[in-house]
Symmetry: C2
Amino acid sequence: MDALDALRGHLAELADLSSLGHLAAWDQRAMMPPAGAPGRAHLMATLEQIAHDRSTAPQIGEWLEQIEAAAGDDGLTDVDGDLVRLARRDWEQSIRVPSDLAVELARAGAEGQASWQSARAASDFAAFAPALRHNIELARELAAHLGDGDRPYDALLGLYDFGLTAARVQEVFGRLAEVLPSLVEQSAVDPQTPRLEVPVAAQEAAVAGALRRVGVTPDSWRVDVSAHPFTTWMGPRDTRLTTRYEDGQLESILAALHEFGHGLYERQIAPELDRTNLGSGTSMSMHESQSKLWENHVGRHPAFAALIADDLTAAGFAIEPPALQRTLELVRPSLIRVSADQMTYPLHIVLRFELERALIEGTLDVADLPTAWNDGMRRLLGVEVPDDASGVLQDVHWSSGAFGYFPSYALGCVIAAQLWETLESDAGPQADALGTGDTTAVAAWLGEHVHRFGRRLDTEPLLEHATGRGLDPEPFIRHLERLVP
Amino acid sequence: MDALDALRGHLAELADLSSLGHLAAWDQRAMMPPAGAPGRAHLMATLEQIAHDRSTAPQIGEWLEQIEAAAGDDGLTDVDGDLVRLARRDWEQSIRVPSDLAVELARAGAEGQASWQSARAASDFAAFAPALRHNIELARELAAHLGDGDRPYDALLGLYDFGLTAARVQEVFGRLAEVLPSLVEQSAVDPQTPRLEVPVAAQEAAVAGALRRVGVTPDSWRVDVSAHPFTTWMGPRDTRLTTRYEDGQLESILAALHEFGHGLYERQIAPELDRTNLGSGTSMSMHESQSKLWENHVGRHPAFAALIADDLTAAGFAIEPPALQRTLELVRPSLIRVSADQMTYPLHIVLRFELERALIEGTLDVADLPTAWNDGMRRLLGVEVPDDASGVLQDVHWSSGAFGYFPSYALGCVIAAQLWETLESDAGPQADALGTGDTTAVAAWLGEHVHRFGRRLDTEPLLEHATGRGLDPEPFIRHLERLVP
């Protein structure tokens, strides 16, 4: 079928352009000398423009019509059927956004970030409010083009997690908001508990050891340092993760395992999906579940943590496994999301979900946001916010117009626990294997039940396929209950 | 003028695509894990296809016609006049090559390189001959499309150096072939003279010292290690060079200065030419002259070499400046071009020029190439070639179809010496400044007389502008005569 070949060729080009974008972004964050920034902005804008032109090309619609008319449901292989279905979905979505709105979204996002940076430096929410208000208006306009206009937040959520709704998120997050604050209260350590001070050299040895055990090899991976840890990939055999060593604690090790989880997901997608529209992780929440699984259920597992303790001890930072274990599982309510522990972290997200949904639906005014934030932090985490910089201004997301992105962080924790329970039920308890540093059964189970599908299944169908049920917060709650002293 | 704006926008996009190609190639050679190679090949092929489509777009011809019809010679600024002139030249050249020939050239080049690699490993020229023959046929076909068919080699030469002819190269190279063998004979050291064995740590200190003195700063440059040293740039403020430390000698230091010369050229092009078709070095030979100037006339200058000796000594490899100077200027005829000294190097190129011209013009058959090579090495350098691997199979160029590229290497030496003589005549002798590690006068003179023009002037007009005359081998010969004991 000629139209299918043409569509496949076009999708392969789009996949390559996406990989080039990944490369340019990786380089910008991990390698580029600072003075290269203005030139890089031009280069990335040109690349985005080309990718946008090709994603919205009218030929895609023509090919799809020809394929759909000729094939019906029977004439295509399963993979090609999914490929055509997703190509139609992506194309319809991309042509629904008027190009002047797309340009204004990009412009306002860049301007919003600049406004946010200076407002955060001055801890002055009022200075950021106009840019935020404009971003919200644009997001509503975008939502009106994407959806039916009744549920604007759902339309935005769908950009990151197709098929997910605010109502569904609310079911899950409502349960977390109900249970977690009391677990936190029972588990929280004295805020004065001193933190570990692990020398960078010992952290480096432990990062190298952890990554070696999970299968990171230099022939096919890179591990670098950047201000914020991240993962990227240029095709299935070139995966690059970063970590950071700034704060003298163990974040570097957990961050490296977290980023490994993202990388492994992309590497284990079925090779036949490579360079198609199906050859990437299916959603932000499913991606985050993969990073959280390796961070929370492997890295913090007592058996694996004992190996980390051994590595730290061998590198000159003597620590007993139980002491390391206690540190990794410490619950300490705090102001800042990115440095939160695994029990308090989801509550930071619950708050952001409530607030951004209200902002988009018009039930919360921007002027009232700082108060709503501070009230929420008191209600969910029991902490007092001293200033906007460590409160409502701490995250970049809203400044760049990314509404609907936050939920994936906590859904990732929920899904990770759900997958881990099923994995241990299917493949048996992993303590013995993790105690020898053997994670092959974990990787194989994830490959078979999650990774290989790429985008062929959306979040909840994939989860149902892997675990027999949709989003379910109970495994995560059970995981956290074990932390209560 | 709308057409001019449209053309400028299009050229800016092409410049960005070129920078993306630079980034992908730099990453491939300096950063990419080996398993990423197949994915990278797809990605670069897609990028090349997009750049090719845009370089040959019919709209370019329409815009040019509108601009030329409306403007005549008077309606454009000088820069815009050059921009339009070069845009027409580049476009005419690109549309002359049929797309099936372009595809076959790329395919045969890739296949030729694979054939060459295995033939070189086996030192078996016959195994490479069929691929070479095919590349020559394709190069002749390309030349027939590009030129009038009478002078096929000139057409190929023009791909790297617009306006240059084989006859002009022959004038210069004939003079080198006449003078240099006798100078080599008078200067060559005993082949048994031992080589320096400089520890890598001392080399690294000397590389860092040399690059710091010439102005390489981490805010705007990167210095990495790769198998073969090279330079690339992503816009004027992001320059990346590599060196290598493999062989225990001083090549790392000279290579770093060589690559710095390439980088500085691109950085000192007038900012108004950035993201236009004029914003890059004008030719391969002029680019090579910039690298050779910093390698031969700065790095090997006794005053600068004394600082290198100091750095080596401080790093634990004690050496007196005169001893280092003798090593840097050692003349030792050898088989391999890339490790040749500054006096014998051009003779390796003269041989390649003679042979590739004869291959393209049909006066030398591929079957007779190894004998012709070995005869030439005996005649020009007085060395016996023991096998094809260290003879005719040593370079990659012909295997990838690059005929007409080699001359730029020796023309670079010639132009460098010519520029250096004029520079010292204009700005005064540089010994005192170099002795303090101050190269600002050198960089400033090159910026003013060479770099800022970008592609606005071709090689010989630029050289005439800078030195008052066209290609002239005499300054280089005078430079080499000083090496005769």
